[in-house]
Amino acid sequence: MNDTDDSDRELRVSKIRNGTVIDHLAAGQALNVLALLGIDGSGGESVSVGMNVPSDKLAKKDIVKVEDRELSQSEVDVLSVISPEATINIIREYDVIEKKRIERPEAVTGVLSCPNRNCITNADEPVETRFVVLSDGLRCDYCGEIVREDEIATHLDVS
């Protein structure tokens, strides 16, 4: 389980006191993760991003560190679809106090909007979106529309 070694150097560069380190993201996903978390800097959070960082495990990876922020379960769920190899480290007082390997869920609820504009979830109805997780993407549980893995970031329902 000692798979933090390759990121230790990075962590030292910009260690955070309390918050979340999302590590082992597929290269190129860091900005999508920030979009998913609704982080654009306007909230004043301290955020560090590493892109295309050398990694023993993935050759190249992205890493995101967010101060004073823990991920909700639905955020973790979508994260797992964007980047199944990702790990989440919860940091308190500069120490990793919890290390989660995220698991691919059966469905994700309420975090993506359906790309089918004519889907009932895009009408003004009291219903949350729900996507069933397929081997290489997501499927709207209402209209059946399929979103491929590489298109997911485009449909994140974040403000």
Partner: protein
């Protein structure tokens, strides 16, 4: 048939389909015997999109079972016009009815509606999504004329937006059917339908030219190419013309070819074809009533916990 609702043909197993078709055949043999079977039952017709025929077909089916129907009327004259949600509308009408039929312009509408009601709900068409009762009557017609196993079926026209096509393609994966899809490039099957066909291991091929497969077909299912799908009238004319059939075209077909169409047609099947033994589309439309009688009867039976 162990379902509470009928939302999509993808939920139907071979056994489900055969149970409905068998009961429809029983009904067809002696419709009078089923009068009174559902005395006092009220069916709520919620049509958010006009469809006189489908509505009349459900209306007739319920009445022939001895029940009655209530109708929310046209969308223009109802509270929907005032901005009421679908979720609210079905909850209100559920209070008056033992089962609901829903036609709606948005994909997934029927699925969502079932989350708000406890009575059986039947999807009578949701946008470009699904139209499973049409599929059941299509299968009934196909079974009567060509059988449902070891047959080659061609489905032609607007495969992208045609909900009857999406439902039919899914249902046919339960049988030993070779499916050929014939359409202009711009109107090929949507990704979600392809995905299901692929997952089911169905034998599927796609074509832009009917001539490539016509002589192999046991069934040719024709659908309408809608003018409004094309930005340009000339573009429409050019495409639509290639997917029309007349008796000359059918010279190349098997004598036993069954030609079907969910109707209404515009000019995709020349009227002269009506006079041939190939034409089964009016028979297909008539089959809607016994098939919907069978389906409603079975869903109501399930709702009662299998008594009757």
């Amino acid at each position: 048939m162990r379902q509470d609702h009928l939302i999509s043909a993808t939920q139907l197993s071979r056994a489900d389909i055969e149970a409905v078709l068998d009961r429809a055949a029983e009904i067809d043999a002696d419709v009078g015997a089923w009068q009174g079977r559902r005395d006092g039952t009220v069916l709520g017709l919620c049509f958010f999109e006009p469809s006189t025929r489908t509505r009349m077909s459900f209306d007739t089916a319920m009445k022939r079972l001895g029940g009655r129907t209530i109708d929310m009327g046209s969308v223009e004259s109802s509270s929907v016009k005032k901005g009421e949600t679908l979720a609210d509308t079905v909850r209100v009408i559920e209070g008056y009815a033992d089962a609901l039929v829903l036609r709606h312009p948005s994909e997934g509408a029927a699925k969502m509606a079932t989350e708000f009601v406890d009575v059986p709900l039947v999807n009578a068409g949701d946008g470009a999504g699904q139209h499973p009762t049409q599929t059941l009557l299509d299968l009934y017609t196909m079974r009567e004329n060509a059988g449902l196993d070891d047959v080659t079926v061609g489905i032609m026209g607007d495969l992208k937006y045609g909900r009857t096509v999406h439902s039919l393609a899914a249902a046919l994966t339960n049988f030993d059917v070779r499916q050929h899809f014939v359409s202009p490039e711009s109107l090929q099957l949507p990704r979600s339908v392809r995905y299901d066909l692929h997952e089911s291991g169905a034998q599927v091929r796609e074509h832009t030219d009917l001539d490539e497969v016509l002589s192999d077909l046991d069934v040719l299912y024709v659908t309408r190419i809608q003018r409004e799908r094309f930005p340009d009238e000339n573009e429409y004319r050019k495409v639509a013309g290639e997917y029309q059939i007349d008796t000359d075209d059918l010279d190349a077909a098997k004598d036993s070819l069954t030609v079907m169409h969910p109707l209404p047609r515009v000019d995709e099947i020349a009227p002269e074809v009506d006079e041939t033994d190939h034409a089964k589309y009016f028979e297909q439309a008539h089959n809607g009533v016994p098939v919907r009688m069978a389906l409603l009867d079975m869903l109501l039976e399930n709702a009662e916990g299998g008594s009757q």
